[in-house]
Symmetry: D2
Subunit: 386 residues, 4 copies
């Protein structure tokens, strides 16, 4: 029997970090469809993030992306966040949008370009010092498009060198989260294409280096929860970048494409002790055609619902069925939890916390969307290029 009070208690501790860039415009290589009311500044992104936290109660931190969120005074930005009930979260580096990075950043054949990229990474640690962020999230667009274009192994050497330099720079309580990605924007070989590569680098670096699992960054058919279980077992799971995909790195709302997979992932997180440990749960999504703030609220709720279901798994009954080799019963225990409608439980929880039971309609009724559409006129809307 599952203890509902314990489930609720666990859900009360949950925190999902939202990414500043999800509040801005995004799109595909074919077109970015701008939306009305989109933030023009990091501060406006934080205002929107504050609404997500206000209505869900579980989104208290916001990830920044440098240079998209660069400000003169990060201390002031942190204060601004606090004034809005938020904290600044992970610092995300960007080594893919400078013209110098056509052939890579820290893996580039030219040492001068590598140095430039490294300096950016070190600057990000400086920013962490200023914001009090604990996590540096590193995703490298580095790779090659054609066989022979560059030496695969030499690129790993260069990557290792840069990572070591950044690792060295990390202060106490700071860690480096290394993301892997199957492909895109590199189309032949990506320099950190899979968890094994990220893991091997992190292992050499030391305990402050951990792996980020972005749910959209795998080959077709990959069993992501297996990777989660393995990284937790090895003490190397640092964070999630949540989103969902039907095909590639589609960056749809987490839980939108395969909610059962999200549930299985959350089950392994809980099973492996990752829920109470230092694993960061972040969103990394693009709301290309749907309204951004409610899409982020929905995404946070999807993570909550998957977590609630995973917490509901009757682990005693499961262990018994597994031990007895009863395939159907073991699967049934898991499916029982998944098939449960946890929305009433979550509504109840929200009400206990003084929140509206339905965050989406509460947001819709709040007038915020109308206000930002009316007020955020003129200026340069935030997006990937700015």
């Amino acid at each position: 029997m599952t203890d509902l009070a314990a489930v609720k208690a666990a859900l009360r501790t949950q925190a999902v970090e939202t990414p500043s860039w999800a509040y801005g415009n995004s799109g595909t290589r074919f077109k970015v469809f701008a939306q009305e009311g989109v933030p023009r500044t990091p501060q406006e992104k934080l205002e929107d993030a504050a609404k997500v936290n206000e209505f869900t109660g579980v989104a208290p931190t916001v990830a920044l992306h440098i240079p998209w969120d660069r400000v003169d005074d990060f201390g002031a930005l942190g204060k601004f966040a606090e004034d809005h009930g938020l904290k600044l979260g992970a610092i995300n580096s960007n080594t893919f949008q400078d013209d110098d990075y056509r052939l890579g950043s820290v893996c580039h054949p030219d040492a001068a370009v590598r140095r430039k990229a490294l300096d950016h990474l070190l600057e990000c640690v400086d920013i962490m010092d200023a914001t009090g962020s604990a996590d540096l999230k590193l995703w490298f667009a580095d790779g090659t498009n054609y066989p022979g274009q560059d030496d695969l192994s030499a690129r790993q050497d260069r990557l290792g060198e840069a990572l070591a330099a950044v690792y060295e720079r990390l202060g106490d309580g700071q860690r480096m989260l290394l993301e892997y990605k199957f492909f895109e924007p590199a189309f032949y070989a990506t320099d950190v294409p899979d968890w094994g590569t990220a893991y091997a680098h992190c292992l050499k670096l030391g305990p402050k280096a951990q792996v980020v699992v972005d749910t959209g960054h795998h080959a077709p058919g990959t069993n992501i929860e297996f990777i989660v279980a393995t990284l937790l077992r090895e003490g190397k799971l640092g964070a999630f970048d949540f989103n969902s995909r039907f095909y590639a790195d589609d960056d749809l709302m987490v839980g939108a494409a395969d909610p059962f997979q999200l549930f299985r992932i959350m089950y392994e997180v809980i099973r492996g002790g990752g829920f109470t440990a230092d694993v960061a749960f972040m969103l990394d999504q693009c709301h290309n055609i749907e309204a951004k703030i409610p899409a982020i609220i929905r995404s946070v709720m999807n993570v909550q619902e998957a977590t609630a279901k995973a917490l509901l798994v009757d682990r005693e009954a499961l262990a018994a069925a597994q031990g007895a080799g009863d395939v159907l019963e073991a699967n049934a225990v898991v499916m029982d939890a998944y098939n449960t409608d946890v929305r009433p439980l979550l509504r109840e929880l929200r009400e206990e916390q003084g929140l509206a039971p339905d965050p989406i309609s509460a947001y819709r009724g709040s007038g915020w969307q109308e206000r930002i559409v009316a007020e955020r006129v003129g200026g340069q809307q935030a997006g990937w290029g700015a």
Copy 2:
């Protein structure tokens, strides 16, 4: 025994259409790396295309993309092309870059948006009348990102309606080429996701409607040459959009990722009578990080080499082995042709045609690249957005 003279004769008839947009800048959603010397106008694209034709001898036509190549006087543009030894080729429509197309174009739920998209398609036929182009190439970015977003079947109805209206407008000697694509930019359901959907529409439309096979637009593992053979057998193969992919729609140089696949495709084209029939061989690629003109020359050469190898297949020996059920021998006949180095044959052919044997080094020695880098300064470089 293969008749080398016949192989050469066939190769002399080959024509590969290059796309105007491949001469401009392109990139991924993460970054477009601009290159020096890139054309600013349709005329400058044609100048570059003329160089590709000059050095390969087999790229006499250029596909246009509307509105990227819109000019006031298409007759004059055709004359400009002729003055450069070229003809204008297929007209490619664009129903994905207007803000109105966020939820689709001809499949959009709003009739006004559909009408706008249809008007654009009809304008493209007007342009065909002006340019003398025979082919209207239709690729629709239409689709949905989330289950439920729109009604899949209603969208097919709307699509069918638009296609019928365009079909009706086609003049004598004009045809409509319908492209399919597995995914992107739509991430849940694409409205023309596979050859079957394109085929079903073309079948209803009539003989002037045929299917385009873009080699990058398939699910992982799809046997493309089977589709080619099937469409040829049904009289419904209209054209190729050549490029190559390791993962998704990577748009690398044709033949760069899987040259053996390209050979197998060309073999089925020849086997099915597509080489001498009205199948258009077009490139559709993005040269994001490599120099554009030599990349296009290399791509044209890759198609030539695959064609030469496919022509070398000893079809008599193959039929004998197939008839005898000799799996290894039948495969060996095909591999013998593939393993042949056809570059000497093609060098010879070029010399017989008064061309330099090595188009790449001839281009590099021509001074054209230096000239355009020097001269094409200022202005707005061509790209997907312009």
Copy 3:
């Protein structure tokens, strides 16, 4: 608002056909793990199927596979079925287990082998006459393992010829259901690899020929519900072979790998009128390691649950959101139905029908499993090879 009474009424009409071979042993190329109590005869398979129907109330027919279920007197077998509350369902042909079929059956280069295969198919229609089965289900293992092994297009000609001969033989009220499969056992080119190929053949044959969608037979990432919607729109969806897959044709219990996908498929079935029309809902699975009868009961329940959720979609609200272009709301309407726990509704329905509310525990308590384990000793257990 959804009308619960209408939902229940629809669920009362549902019928899922179970396959005789799922009651026998099965496995992979590595090993078949035999289970105790497995049937030795077609009659014993029907006895097991009767239990599935007894406890679920929605599995009244059983598909036969020839020659695995060949008996001397099919009339008597039909009578045996009726005595057990069942009817005989689709007749499934087998043209892949004779030594002559090493290089194919109806597509084989040798006319004598093709004739043999065709004779088998015609015999299957004879059996339909005897059993009163309406459906002939055709799956061909035909294909090639190596490029060049055989002529892809000639094989299509041979296939078309055989299908035409069988079609000609069909009586009133009989139809031919053509299945497609992405790969396996052929590993280079499968002769009916996708819905487009099956559709093109069925279109030429006529109204009695329709396509079977086996949910495990697609390329990675394929949007199956799109195919379902398209085939329904064209009047060419004949049947489903339900099962589930994580990777390839894994033949796991339907709904086990991606229950959300199953729900989406059932939604398109209902949306497209397939639920009330003549679409046959069949299971085609392998219970390699789990207990067979309860696995089949669970599978039938999974189809029921997905159907119930699909029926719960508030189509009025959905149409309104779609018409308004409200991506999030339209998606939310669909997700609301999916997130509903329909198990109470189904328990209620069963009790209204005089059934136990939980079919699995009712079966477990029935003593049937113990009885067959005790009684079915000796003899040759049924499996794919027998």
Copy 4:
């Protein structure tokens, strides 16, 4: 400039191990098509392998599979091999064909089953002592078919324990080669699904544990040569199981599906020092429909041809182009080598070694096939089940 003499010298040192089981019957779950002349005993397999070595000159060792090749006196079998110009190669364990292994072997929830599997592995090391084999190749079919069926992490613990026990038992000059596989026969989670998992285990075990790359065991789109480069860089590449695939683990002849990929893999092997180091090059294939001995000869030749092409890469020119960031030129250097027809070079090499220039026709002319078809009558043909 490439030094042809050095290329030839390198090719003279090449050795490809053939697997005993490839000489026996194999098939799919649908059917095993028996062939005439197939060996009945390990000795007859060695006789066939001797022919492959006789005609290719580069296949001097044969991998054994226990229990399929179990004999009373392995010393005598080794002597038999030597009398036929061969040595016994890697010992391959089998923990998937006993009825006890339905839910796994070394990862099974029941300690007694795990002990049984471990005993088998230890017996394999005993056999290595007897045969003088240096390599124990471990492939585990272990995994689960359904979410929840067993605890993913506990299974890793059990796996680690078994591997440690076997590692402990290894003598001097013996190593353990751990294979990974994406899926099949487990269809939800495989216990060693990817190189990262195998690598993590080998790292903990120590220097005698290395990873096997089976070219057919990856997710769609995986860049295998990247894994090869990475494992070589880490000193953890132990061996290859060569075969080729279009879809999954198709086990076609190596080089048959994507010869360009095989070339790229061999290039990384050479680049990373793996050609001269202790990397074992083994075939692991199934000749389901083609004649077995010539298929194996062809496979060995395909590896040779890919190796020759990889050796022909002008590494000086490549490094220069890579250093200059010349994407097209770097790619062209690689493609130049790939496009070279190396068959004349290999024919020359064979003649220098006193071999017939064309191994396939030499074998066909040798009368061996006719002899084994005539003589190997009666008895039990070798296959996966025996």
